[in-house]
Structure formats: C-alpha cells, structure tokens
C-alpha cells in the first residue's frame, strides 16, 4: 500500500486509519485474501511512480496568485448574482403591479398557475430521484 494513502495529514479522524507503517489494515486484509487486489495495488503504486513529476505541487507564490485570482472571480460572481437577483425581482414586481392594476384576471391566473407548476416540478424531480441514484 502506498505511503500517502491517507494524505499528508496523518491522524485519527475518519479517513485517517493507517497503522504504524502508514498502511490501512482493511486494505491489507483484503489484499491478502482477494484475487486481483494485490495486482491492483501494485499497478496503482507503479502509476504513482511514473507520474511522480506531475504530482509535484506548484510553488507557494503560484498558489497565492491563484488564491487572489479565485477571490477576485468569487467577488465578481457575487456581484453579478446580486445584480441579477435585483433585476429579476424588479421585473417581477413591476409585472405584478401592472397586472393587478390593468388586468386583475391575468394576475390571479398567474398566481394560480405558479403553485401548480411548482407541484408538478417537485413530483417530476422526486420521480427522477427515485428511479436512479445518478446518471
């Protein structure tokens, strides 16, 4: 079993179950009893060796630059979402006011249709979820 099988933060929380040699007992037990597992573990360790150069982490400077870029992107996205939220809210509010003053039947029809559409969407979503876990 690879030495870094539980990541660099060895400890005692879940996901950190190595013994003194940094090996997982569960994995080792299975490896000795199950056909294909020793081969799999050896193959994956070889894969780690072959790609050792690609696994070298970027420098701290690069990561910090990435951090700054990510926080800038995050700030811009928040601003965009905030603007979109207010734009849609104003549009809906304007439409509702216009409808209630100039065409009340239309207003009440929309008010009735929205919950029905919501219930249909919910039922469809629950049906999809019940059919499969994913894909």
């Amino acid at each position: 079993m690879t030495k870094d099988n539980t990541g660099p933060d060895n400890g005692n929380k879940w996901g950190e179950t190595p013994d003194e040699d940094g090996k997982s007992k569960a994995a080792e037990d299975h490896a000795s009893s199950e056909f294909a597992l020793p081969e799999l573990i050896a193959g994956l360790e070889r894969l780690d060796r072959v790609y050792a150069n690609e696994a070298v982490p970027p420098s701290l400077g690069e990561l910090q630059a990435q951090l700054i870029a990510a926080s800038e992107r995050h700030r811009r996205r928040m601003l965009r979402e905030w603007l979109l939220f207010w734009l849609i809210s104003l549009f809906l509010l304007g439409f509702s006011l216009l409808a209630i003053t100039s065409a009340p039947p239309l207003y009440w029809m929309v008010q009735g249709l929205i919950p029905i559409a919501g219930i249909i969407a919910l039922v469809m979503r629950l049906g999809r979820k019940g059919r499969g876990e994913w894909r």
């Binding site: 079993m1 690879t2 870094d4 099988n5 539980t6 990541g7 660099p8 933060d9 060895n10 400890g11 929380k13 879940w14 996901g15 950190e16 179950t17 190595p18 090996k23 997982s24 007992k25 569960a26 994995a27 080792e28 299975h30 490896a31 199950e34 056909f35 294909a36 597992l37 081969e39 799999l40 573990i41 050896a42 193959g43 994956l44 070889r46 894969l47 780690d48 060796r49 072959v50 790609y51 690609e54 696994a55 070298v56 982490p57 970027p58 420098s59 701290l60 990561l63 910090q64 990435q66 951090l67 700054i68 990510a70 926080s71 995050h74 876990e133 994913w134 894909r135």
Partner: protein, 178 residues
C-alpha cells in the same frame, strides 16, 4: 491531524492567504495522485486538481474538522469529477477514457516501466464502482466513510465496492482470455 496542520487550517480559515497556500501545497501531490487513479487520465486529473484547489479556497471556512483535511479534499474532488462526468455523453466518456489510458500506457513505455493490465481493467470499471473500489481497497476507508464522501448509504457503498471488485476480476479474466 498534527497540531501544526490544525494551526495552519485555523489561520487559513481566518483569511491568511499564505497559510491557505501552504495547506493546499501540502496536499497537492496526494490530490493529484488520487485523481489520476480515479480518472485514469493525466490531463483530466490535472484539471480536476485545479478545480479542487479553487473550490477548497472558496470553501475553506466551511471545513469543520469532523474529518481529516485530506478526506475533505477527497470529497470535494470526487464530487467535482462526478459532476463533470454527468455532463458528458457516453461516447465522449469512452473516447476520453481511451485517450487517457493510451497516454498512461505510452508514459509507462517511455519510462521503461512494465505495463499492468489491471490499470486497463480498472479504467473499464463503471465510475461509481471504481470510486468505491479505490477508496475501500486502496485508500482503506471504511464503508461509512465512503458513504459520507459520496453522500450515499453505507450499504450502497459496500455493494458498489463489491461489484467494482467483481467487475475488475471479470475485466482481467476477459483480458487473459482475449
């Protein structure tokens, strides 16, 4: 988790960029290697590692210490990868998988390393089972931990790992016969 790491995490959560960069640097190699095994595609593994790093930067304040930091990163990386795969058609997935495994094979040959058919077989195991198989039998997580990582019940994690192993054996047998 060591005291030193807990301290770095606390600093990172308070907004110390250097601490966060240090933390992510410490885990980069582990994350890349995990994603390489999961994707069996070096380019994709690098992409998803980058996405994971960015997501961790954004979500570091939400890390509550109930799992190890590496497990938290594995959870994020796995879910990002699953999301990507959901958006792909089966054909795209197949083409990408073939390209990935070919480039790994080429790399093995270039470095004079003996090729292992088990890697070929692993890449053909369906993704949900492959994830469970790797987390259980290579990384040594328990079924309940795998369930937490994937957001599925423990029993489902167990059946996925068992099915994944069975599938791997069948693929290997087919390779031997073919």
């Amino acid at each position: 988790m060591s005291d030193e790491e807990s301290q770095i995490i606390r600093k990172a959560q308070r907004g110390d960029r250097q601490a966060l960069a240090q933390l992510l640097q410490n885990h980069y190699s582990f994350m890349y290697k995990y994603l390489l095994k999961l994707t069996m595609d070096p380019a994709l593994a690098e992409d998803v590692t980058q996405d994971t790093i960015v997501r961790c930067m954004e979500k570091i304040a939400l890390y509550n210490g109930s799992s190890s930091f590496s497990s938290w990163m594995i959870t994020i990386a796995t879910r990002l990868y699953i999301d990507r795969m959901r958006r792909r058609s089966r054909e795209e997935e197949w083409i990408r998988r073939e390209q990935g495994i070919r480039s790994i094979r080429w790399r093995f040959e270039a470095q004079g390393e003996e090729w292992s058919d088990v890697l070929d077989a692993l890449s053909r195991v369906p993704l949900p089972q492959r994830i469970a198989l790797l987390l259980k039998h290579y990384y040594g997580y328990s079924y309940s931990e795998i369930g937490r990582i994937l957001g599925i019940p423990e029993g489902t994690a167990k059946s996925r790992a068992a099915y994944g192993l069975r599938q791997l054996r069948e693929e290997l047998k087919e390779d031997d016969e073919g």
